[in-house]
Symmetry: C2
Subunit: 336 residues, 2 copies
C-alpha cells in the first residue's frame, strides 16, 4: 500500500515541477530581497534529495493563518461582517430579538454604536448567526453572502481581497510537494465554504475555531448535523499548535502568520528539526492596503496586533518579516 | 490556483489507472459475490465521467472504521493491550500507584480479574497511560510497543493482523482517486503512529477519539504539547459523523464499519445524494478469525457488537454486509 501511495506522490511532484520551471520565477509578485530569498531557499533545501535538510514528501506540511496573512483583515474580519449582515434574517425568524441588545443596535445601522459593541455582545451575535442551523443551511447562507457582499473599500467580493504574493507562495509550495493548510482563528465551517475556490485549499485542510455539532434526524428521518454553541477548538494563540496536532498530527515545516495570535504556531514550527520556515506579514503599506501594529512605529490596532515583542521574537528566533510595502510588487490580482 | 490543483488530481488519476488495469482484478482476495460486486460497481459509477453518479475527484472521500473493520479487534482492542502493557512503566514512575486499584490488579497479572475490571477502572488506566506526557514521548512509547508486542493468538505484531481484502479496498479506492480516512473509536494519537505504514493512510487522515493537548515550554524553553485528560472528540456512534464534519468537513461517499458504533456514520454517508456505498463487516468465521454478534445467531460480545437491529437497518437502508467466511478468500497476508 505504502509504495503505491509514495509512487503517486512522486508522480505528482514529477509532473508539477515542469509546470513550475516553465514559469521562470515562481514568485513574480515579489521584489528581490531577504523575504523572497528565504522562501526560495527553504523550498530548494527541503526538496533537495541528496541534502541534509531534505523533507520526505509525506512530511511536507505548510500552515497559513488567513486573516491578515492570506487576505485583508481591516477594518474588521470578514466573518464579523457576515455575522452583522445575518442579523436581520435572524431577527425576522425570531422577532422577539428585535428590541433586545445587541440586536437592536445592529438593526439600527448606527456604525459608531456597532463598532463600540463589547466582546460579550459580539459573542451573542456570533451564537445567534453561527449556530442553531444545520451544517448545510449554514453553508448555503455563507455561499449566498459571499456572492452578494462587497468590502467597504474596494467594493469587491471578499475573496478577491487575497494577496497575490501569498497565492504564489501557496502554489509554489504545492508544486514542490507541500500540503498547504489554513490555520485560522476564524470559523472553520465559515472558511471551508470558500477555501477551495479562493486558495485551492480543500475543506479538510482548513483548521479553524470550531464549535461542536449534534447528530440527529429531520422530520423525514434524514440524518443531519446541527451547529451547537459549544466550543471544541479555539484556534488562536496556543490553540493553533494544539489545533494543528488535533487536525493534522504533524509539525509544519513552514508557517505563515501576521499577528500575536500566530506566535505559538511559529514557535512550534521553528522548534522542529532541520530547515523550518517561519514568516510574518507586516502591514506597513497604508497606500496600497493598511499600516498597523505598534512594531516599526505603526498605529496600534485590535484587529491583527503585531507588537514590538512579536517583532523582537521574530528577530531572535530567525523568523522572517515580510514588508508588504517593500517585498510585494503587487498586492491584489485586480491591481493592474 | 484551482486549476493547478485540479490538474494535479487529474494527473494522479491518469497515472494511477494504468497501474490498476495491469492487475486484472483489483480485489483478488475477494470471492465473487454481492459484496465484491457492490464495491466494483460503486467505483465504476462514481468515476464514470459521463455518468449521472460521477463524483468530482476532490469530493471522493471514503471512511473506514479500524477495529474489526481493518484489523482484528478480538479478544480485546489492541489499544487496551497497549494501556495494560504500559501500567508497569507508569507505576515505576509513580510508585504511589502500586497498591491502588485498578493498577494493583493489572500488576498482579491475574487475567480473569483484569477481564472483569469495570469501565471506570479502564478509564483510570487510560488516563494514566495515555495522558500527562508530551505528544512526542507518547509517539515513542507507541512505536516501541508496536515493535515488541505480539497478539495472543497468532503471536504476530498487531499491524500484521490487518485484513488483506480491506487493504485491497483501500488501495483500489485510492487508485480511483478517493482519499481514504480512518474514522475510529480508538485513540487518534495512537492510531496515527502506525496508520501510514500499516494502511498507507497519513496521520492527517486519521479521525479518532481525541483528548486535548496543552501548549507549553520545557525547561530549555522549547515548545511542547502535553496530552491532557480532557475529551475533545468521542469518536463513536453519533460522534463519528460529528468527527467527520469536524476533521474532514465533507460527507463521505463510501463508509465501512462492523458494529453498532458505526451505525450513524453509515446512515450519514447513505443520506447523501448520488451513489453512496455503506458496508458492514460481519465476523462469522470462527475458524480463520472470530465469530461474534447476535445477528445471524452468532455469540454476543462487548467488543464490536453487531446486533440484529443493525442487520435489519442494513437491509432496509441498502447497506451491504460482508461475510468474512463467504466473501473473503484470504483474511491475512501471512496466510499462504
Amino acid at each position: 500500500m505504502k509504495n503505491i501511495h509514495k509512487m503517486i506522490v512522486m508522480l505528482v511532484i514529477a509532473f508539477a515541477s515542469p509546470t513550475l520551471s516553465l514559469a521562470q520565477d515562481p514568485l513574480p509578485s515579489w521584489n528581490d530581497g531577504a523575504a523572497k530569498q528565504a522562501i526560495v531557499n527553504f523550498v530548494r533545501t527541503t526538496t533537495d534529495t541528496g541534502g541534509t535538510n531534505f523533507v520526505p514528501p509525506e512530511e511536507r506540511i505548510a500552515t497559513f493563518d488567513q486573516d491578515g496573512t492570506l487576505w485583508v483583515e481591516h477594518p474588521v474580519y470578514s466573518q464579523l461582517m457576515f455575522c452583522l449582515d445575518r442579523v436581520p434574517a435572524v431577527v425576522a425568524a425570531r422577532p422577539e430579538l428585535k428590541d433586545v441588545e445587541p440586536f437592536k443596535t445592529v438593526l439600527s445601522g448606527d456604525r459608531e454604536a456597532i463598532a463600540k459593541l463589547p466582546m460579550k455582545d459580539l459573542e451573542k451575535i456570533a451564537v445567534a448567526t453561527l449556530t442553531g442551523m444545520t451544517t448545510e443551511e449554514f453553508q448555503a447562507d455563507v455561499r449566498k453572502w459571499l456572492a452578494d457582499a462587497r468590502d467597504p473599500r474596494w467594493h469587491r467580493p471578499y475573496p478577491e481581497l487575497t494577496y497575490q504574493p501569498m497565492q504564489e507562495v501557496l502554489a509554489y509550495l504545492r508544486a514542490s510537494g507541500y500540503k498547504t493548510y489554513i490555520v485560522t482563528g476564524g470559523g472553520q465551517d465559515f472558511v471551508r465554504v470558500y477555501s477551495e475556490q479562493t486558495y485551492g485549499i480543500p475543506p479538510e485542510q482548513v483548521v479553524g475555531t470550531a464549535g461542536g455539532t449534534k447528530y440527529g434526524y429531520d422530520k423525514d428521518g434524514k440524518p443531519m448535523l446541527t451547529k451547537e454553541p459549544r466550543l471544541v477548538l479555539n484556534d488562536n494563540d496556543a490553540g493553533k499548535p494544539e489545533g494543528i496536532h488535533l487536525m493534522i498530527g504533524r509539525r509544519p515545516h513552514a508557517a505563515f502568520g501576521n499577528s500575536t495570535g500566530d506566535q505559538q504556531m511559529l514557535e512550534y514550527t521553528r522548534a522542529g528539526d532541520g530547515a523550518r520556515l517561519a514568516m510574518l506579514v507586516l502591514h506597513d503599506d497604508a497606500t496600497r492596503e493598511y499600516a498597523y501594529g505598534p512594531a516599526q512605529g505603526l498605529t496600534d490596532t485590535k484587529v491583527g496586533t503585531f507588537t514590538q515583542k512579536l517583532y523582537d521574537e521574530a528577530q531572535q528566533d530567525g523568523w522572517v518579516v515580510i514588508s508588504m510595502k517593500n517585498d510585494w510588487k503587487q498586492i491584489f490580482a485586480f491591481e493592474k
